[in-house]
C-alpha cells in the first residue's frame, strides 16, 4: 500500500502530499490551483562526489571522475529509442542535470501530463549502454567540458574549491576531464546505475496543475518494487584547515572575477532548517546591498552589482562563498575579513536583524510562486532530510540571540581562501 500524508504550511495555507510508494520511491505532489502547466523531477541521490562506494558491505568500488554526469547523458537512450524523440510527440520540454550530490531528470508540460510522466519514469528505469553508444558521447561531453574550461565563472569556483578542500571530491569538476571520461565503459555505467538508481535512493517531485491520483496512477503502473540495499559512500577524511589561501588563473577576460570562500565544519549530517534560517538571516544582515560592508565596498570601487554570496553545502562539505567581479579582489577580500572581525567583536544591530528576518521570509514565500523552484526545493529538502515548509516556519522562530551565537561558530577569518581569474 502507498502511504499518503498531507503536509500543510501553517503560515500560507499551501500544502503538498508526501507519499511513501510501495515500490520504495518517495513521491511529493504539490498541486497548484489555476496553473496551466506541471513540472516533474525524478532524482537520485547520486552526483559527481560519489566516486567511491560499496553496496551491502561488499568490496569498495572506485569509478572515474565525471561518470555520474556521463550516465545522465546516456540514460536518455533506451533500447526502444531516445527519450527526446518520445517527448517530441507530446510537446514536453525535457532536460536533466547532474550536481555534486544528485542527478535529476525533469520535464515541464501544459498538456499530456500522464503520458509525459510515463516517459520519464520509463526511460530513467531503462538503461541501455553499449560500447558504441558510450563512444558517441565522448565528443559531445568533451565539448561540454571545453565550454566550461572557457567559462570564467565556472573556473573561478572550482579553483576556489581546490584551495578549500584537500580530499573531498567536491573539488573535482562535475563533468570530469577529457582524460577521465575516456575511461568510462558500458560496464562501469551499469555498475553505478544499478547501485544508485534504486528507487529507495530516489525521489519524484511534481508541482503544478496535477492531482495525487493522476501521479499515482502512472507510478503504480510504471514503478517496479526495488529491493533496498545499503549504499556506503566513502570520502577521505577532510581536515578543517584549508589547502592554500590564494590561487589565480589567467583567462581571456577584461574584468577580473573572484570567489572568496570560508570553509566551515561539515558535520555528519546536513544543516537543519533552523540552522539554515539563522545563517540566511545573518548573511542578509552582513552582506546584502543594505549592509554597511556592501556600501563601503561599492564606495571604494571594489565590487559591482554582480557581488553575491551563498551557502554551499552537501554531504561532507560546507562553506560560505562570496563572488563577483572586482578590479582589486585582494583588497575586497581583505575588507570582508576585517569587517567580519569587527562585527564579531562588536555587537550586531537588532534593527538589521528584524529587517533581515522579514526579507528572508519574503524570499521564502516568493519561491512558492514557481512550480520549478517548488519541485527542485522538494528534491533538495528530501535528500538533506528536511521537510519543505520547515524553513519558513523556522525563520519565524529564529531569535537575535540565535543569530549572534551562529556568528561565533562560522566565518573563521583564518580559514578562508581567495580565487581570482584575470586577463593575460
Amino acid at each position: 500500500m502507498n502511504d499518503i500524508k498531507e503536509i500543510k504550511s501553517v503560515r500560507t495555507g499551501d500544502k503538498y502530499y508526501k507519499i511513501n510508494h510501495k515500490s520504495g520511491l518517495t513521491i511529493y505532489v504539490y498541486p497548484k490551483e489555476k496553473y496551466s502547466s506541471a513540472y516533474a523531477i525524478f532524482g537520485t541521490k547520486y552526483g559527481s562526489i560519489n566516486t567511491s562506494f560499496s553496496v551491502d558491505g561488499k568490496e569498495k568500488i572506485t569509478v572515474p571522475d565525471g561518470i555520474a554526469h556521463y550516465l545522465e547523458h546516456k540514460l536518455f537512450e533506451s533500447e526502444d529509442g531516445d527519450a527526446f524523440t518520445k517527448y517530441s510527440k507530446t510537446g514536453a520540454s525535457a532536460n536533466a542535470y547532474t550536481s555534486f550530490d544528485k542527478t535529476c531528470y525533469l520535464f515541464s508540460c501544459s498538456d499530456n501530463f500522464k503520458k509525459n510522466l510515463e516517459i520519464l519514469l520509463d526511460f530513467v528505469q531503462s538503461p541501455y549502454f553499449t560500447a558504441e553508444t558510450v563512444a558517441k558521447e565522448q565528443g559531445i561531453i568533451g565539448q561540454e567540458i571545453k565550454m566550461y574550461d572557457d567559462s570564467p565563472d565556472w573556473r573561478v569556483m572550482f579553483n576556489l574549491l581546490e584551495c578549500l578542500y584537500h580530499n573531498h571530491p567536491v573539488k573535482i569538476d562535475i563533468a570530469g576531464t577529457v582524460e577521465t571520461i575516456a575511461e568510462i565503459t558500458a560496464e562501469k555505467l551499469y555498475e553505478v546505475y544499478n547501485t544508485f538508481y534504486n528507487l529507495n535512493n530516489m525521489v519524484l517531485c511534481v508541482a503544478g496543475n496535477v492531482t495525487v491520483d493522476e501521479v499515482l496512477q502512472i507510478c503504480d503502473k510504471e514503478l517496479k518494487e526495488n529491493e533496498q540495499h545499503k549504499i556506503t559512500n566513502y570520502f577521505e577524511k577532510e581536515p578543517y584547515e584549508i589547502v592554500k589561501p590564494y590561487t589565480e588563473q589567467k583567462l581571456t577576460v577584461s574584468v577580473p572575477l573572484f570567489n572568496f570562500g570560508f570553509k566551515e565544519k561539515a558535520g555528519d549530517r546536513m544543516l537543519t532548517a533552523k540552522e539554515n534560517a539563522e545563517i540566511d538571516i545573518l548573511l542578509t544582515m552582513l552582506f546584502s546591498p543594505s549592509s554597511e560592508l556592501y556600501s563601503e565596498l561599492l564606495e571604494e570601487g571594489l565590487i559591482n552589482s554582480s557581488f553575491s554570496y551563498e551557502v554551499f553545502e552537501g554531504p561532507g562539505y560546507f562553506s560560505i562563498l562570496f563572488g563577483g567581479e572586482s578590479r582589486n579582489p585582494e583588497k575586497a577580500s581583505e575588507k570582508i575579513k576585517d569587517y567580519i572581525l569587527k562585527v564579531k567583536s562588536e555587537s550586531l544591530s537588532k534593527e538589521d536583524f528584524e529587517a533581515s528576518k522579514r526579507a528572508c521570509y519574503g524570499d521564502s514565500l516568493s519561491s512558492l510562486n514557481n512550480i520549478e523552484s517548488i519541485a527542485n526545493t522538494l528534491v533538495s529538502s528530501h535528500f538533506s532530510g528536511n521537510e519543505f515548509f520547515e524553513y519558513t516556519e523556522a525563520l519565524a522562530e529564529v531569535t537575535f540571540e540565535d543569530v549572534k551565537n551562529r556568528l561565533n561558530k562560522i566565518l573563521d577569518v583564518n580559514n578562508c581562501a581567495l580565487s581570482v581569474v584575470k586577463g593575460e
Binding site: G139, P152, D363
Partner: protein
Amino acid sequence: MEILKREQIGNNVFFNTVNDSRFKTMKISVSAYLPLLKETASQNALLCDILTRSCKEYSTLSILEKKLLSLYGASLSSHVKKEGDLQVLTIAVSGLDDKYAFDDTKISSELAEILCKIIFEPNVLNGEFTEQDFKQSLRQLLDTMDSDFNEKRVYAVSRCVEIMNQNSPAGIKRYGDKESAEKTTAKDLYSAWQNLLKSARFEIMYVGDGDSLSTLNIFKNKFKNIERTPQKLLTATFKSDGNVKEVVEEMELSQSKLVIGFETGVSADDENYCAIMLLSAILGGTPSAKLFTNVREKQSLCYYCISRYYRRKGYIIVESGVEGENLERAKNSIFNEVNELTSGNITDFEIESAKLAMINGYKSITDTVTGIETWYLTRILDNKVDTPEETAEKIKTVTKEQLLMLAKNIKLDTIYMLKNKD
C-alpha cells in the same frame, strides 16, 4: 488569469495591468522606449542605472536598500535591452503581496511610490546628478561592458549581430560604447533624464493581485505635469546587403565559437511571423530539430548547436561551440541542414514536434510573474498584441506550404568564427 488590460494615461504613456491572484508576489515595471542611437545609447544606459541608486527621499543606495529590506526584502532593478532599432530602459520593483505581510505594511503601494520617486524625483542638484552616484554608475557600466566580453558565447553572438547590422541602429550595443560612456558627464545625464520624460514612449506594467488602480492614478498624475513630445519609434526588418561577410577572429580559448546569421525577410508584424518562428524551431529550437539531431547527436561535433529567431529584426542566428580543428566540418554540417530546410526537405514529424514544443512553451508562460511581464513587454509595440494562447492557436494553423515558401527566402548573411589560437 485575466488578460492584459491597457489604458492610455498620457501622450504615448500606457498603463497595462494583468490581475492575477495566483502569485504571492507582485511586480510593477516602467519601460521607456527610445531610438537606439550611437550618440545617446550609453547616456541612456547610465541614466537607467543612476536612477535606481537613490532619489530625493532616499538619498543614498544604502538608505534605499534598507527601505526595501524592511518591505519584506522587496527588490528594485533596472535593465537595458535592445528591441530591433530601439533601446528599452526598464526599472522595476517587486515584492510580496500585501496579504502575506504579518503586520499591516502596505507593501505594494509603498513600492509603487518608491518607483515613482525614483523616476520623477531623482537625487539631482543644480541640474546634475550627484558625483557619488555618477561615479558608481559609470564604473559599473564599464564593468558590465567588459563582462559581456568575459562570456565568449555571449560575445561571439554579439559580434555576429554587430557585423550583420553595420549600417543600422541594431548594430549598436544595448549599452552603447565605452568611448561615449567615458565622455558623459553628470550634467549630460540630467538632460538625458529630462529628454526621457519628455520624449520616450512609456509602458507601465502591473502584474499581481493588488490595487492596480491606485498605482495607475499615481502615474497618471505624475505624467500630467510633463509636457510630452514623444519621438517617432521606427524599426526596420533586417535586409542583407547581398554580400556574405565572413569574419574570423582569434583568441586564447579551449573551444572555438561559430555563429551564422541569416536573413528571413519576416519580422513581428508580418502575417507569416508565426510560420517563421516555427521554421527556426524546426532548424534548431528543440532536441528533435535538424541541428541537434544531426550536428550534435549524429556527428558528435558539439554540445550545443541552436538557432534563434530575432522577432523585431527578423533574422535567424545559429550558434555552436566546437573544437578549433572541426570548425570547417561544423560549418559544412550546419549549412547542410540549412540547405535541407531551404530546399523544402521538412518532414511532417519535424513540423508536428516543433509545433507541440512551441505550444507547450506558450501555455506555460502565464505561470510566472516574470513570464507574463516579459511576454507583453516584448510585444507591446506590435500592431496587435496577442496573448500566449492566441499565439499558440496561430502556430497550430501554420501549413507546410507556408513553411516551404518562407524557407526558400532564407539567405546567408554573416559567418563569424571566434577561433582558438593554436
